[in-house]
């Protein structure tokens, strides 16, 4: 049972990291142009 003492905080912490990562992607505008992002991945010409 003592395993719960650290397993639960770890689980919550990992979940929290996921949440923070999602909120960051949202805030930095990564969902603004989903169509364009799909194409940009295929663009292999170097840009200035």
């Amino acid at each position: 049972m003592t395993a719960l003492a650290w397993l639960i905080p770890v689980a919550l912490g990992l979940g929290g990291v996921g949440l923070a990562a999602f909120l960051w992607t949202l805030r930095s505008g990564q969902y603004e142009d989903l169509e364009g992002a799909a194409w940009r991945a295929l663009d292999d010409e170097p840009r200035k």
Binding site: G18, F22, L26, D33, R40
Partner: protein
Amino acid sequence: MADALRVSPATPVPAPARISSPASARVMTLMVENMNCGNCIRKVETALSAVPQVESARANLSARRVSVVIHPQAKVNSEDLIERLQAVGFTSRELPPEGASSEPADRDSDLVNRLAVAGFASANIMLLSVAVWAGHGEMPGSLQTLMHWLSAAIAVPAVAYSGVPFFSSAYGALKNRRVNMDVPITLGVTLATAMSIYQTIVQSEQVYFDAAITLLFFLLIGRVLDQRMRREATSAAENLLGLVSPATTIIHPDGVSERIATREVRPGMALLIAAGERVPVDARLSRGLAEMDESLITGETHPRKVKTGDGLYAGTINLSGPIEAVATACEDNTLLAEITRLMHTAEQARGKYVRLADRAARLYAPAVHILGLLTFLGWLYAGYTWEPALTAAIAVLIITCPCALALAVPAVQVAAIGRLFKHGIIVKAPDGLERLSEVDTIILDKTGTLTLGEPQLEDPDAVDPAALVKAAGLAANSRHPYSRAIVRASKERGVTVLPVSGVDEIAGSGLRAIIGGVEVKLGSAAFCGIDRADEGRPALWLRSGTDAPVSFRFDDPLRTDARETIAKLTRLGYQIELLSGDRSAIVEAAAKQSGIATWQAELKPDAKAARIEALKASGRHVLMVGDGLNDAPALAAGHASIAPSTATDISQTASDVIFQGAKLGPLVEILAVSKASHAAAIQNFVIAIGYNIIFVPLAMIGVVTPLIAAVAMSVSSITVTANAVWLGHKNLKDMS
């Protein structure tokens, strides 16, 4: 112009760009009409970045917009950038700074933030709850209390944050002495949370944190989808206004011409409109003849001939040489602005549509609260203390938690939308299918909907090949739709088209060139010196020297299965009408050919919308099917609307459903699936309510533990989902 574009340091960079820029840099947003592939992004960005004063350019393919950051001191205006894009083949317009505002997107992501937090919290609380339920009776009391405290630690801040949109809306309603749907939601969520905290403190067995936060999570999903839909509608309206070019050439009384911002044009000013340019404001042609592409306003593919003194509408394209005109109506008074306004108004009306789930919730929420209250009073009356009474009351609230109800409609719609998607049909509005299932009257547009929308050379095999070669050579120099039809027909017949040089285009008449010393003319009968009355059918004549003239006739053929589809829809009991902006003779022929008894011709966009309003007022549920910009108000006014994928962006945005392909048959499929999904949604409600009828009495007498409640909730949710999945596969009658 430049001043209006200057972005103050406090103004956030427009959302699509997200470019970090020095506070003093200028940001300009252009709408690029034909940016629709991955390669286009690179072409657009490269072309703009090549301008020395441009610091960076970032294209947004989804929004068809590009944000350009310009060096603070640079003297570059939008005209230069638009020209630069024109050179690489893109048509663009500048969006007014207020049109590129980032506000709606911010509000949207605020809701998504709350949704993400609610999702995180409900998933973790569910995990803890499952552990408690699974260990029921075996788990030591201390561990159970720990789990409850952990749940509380996650749930309380999450509910406080994620519930704000509901709480504030409920508060606003109560302050104005009204009750909206958010009031019972707020009551249920706060009551369940508060009671759970109390239960945790007194170390009771039952807490309901999971129910409170999951409820918020489901409700927020609905809010986010709703918000996104509205944002799309707004951006469509902005793009529509972007069609008006922001700069216009005016001619001063002394003959000097000058480019000024379109918003500074006043009635009475003399305008110069170049070939291929859109008319900036409503105007009157002051000299000569012109041919105008008015498909934007009337939906008609055949250009209109305009004489001196005739009106020109903002947004139409000048197909002839440069023309001079006098402005008659500007900015908010133009026909184009009027169309935008009509669309907004119509959309607002549709926004008032109450979805099936909401209608159910309206009946459901009070019933749930009355049941909960009765339970509480019943227990008190039976001599118990307030604690078990309130616990039983909350058990009733939780058992009736609208989880199955929240799933009943969305699950069906996801299955139905997936089924349609396989047939190349895209459902855009979440509540579109529901509205489609109620339709009893169908209004069709002619050009581009009942027909394919492009004039085609009638019977090209009957035309003498030598004449066709000559005509195509002349026509290759013109952007007139008939000329393009001739060139297309020649290519289809395998005739090599060699453009003739030195062709004169005479506005409103035709084309003329000297080939081998002989004058060749392609144009109207009068232009070619032929004494024949126009038979009401569009035609061009070719006259080469003194040879006998050759005629080319055009029509806009119906979609191949139009007649069959109309017959099928009539058999299914739909009343069908044809409304067109086109000429009477042509509309009548199309109506007869496709088997539609009721038709009206020569209608302006507002007249179409008015006809729909009249039908709506007589209690009918109207489906509008149309493609042109002129159909946009009608599409927005209809109870439901469908557009082909060839439709203009605006029309597609105003529609609930978009279908692909050259056939009209998808209409039948869409209507059949919408009816079937409506029936499935009703079945789901019956299932969900059936579970409640079994479990609510048990909860009222206090024998339902959280475990039983959880099992009941899951089983009803799974049944409801299974019923929806079945819809995706079963055969629908009346569809073959």
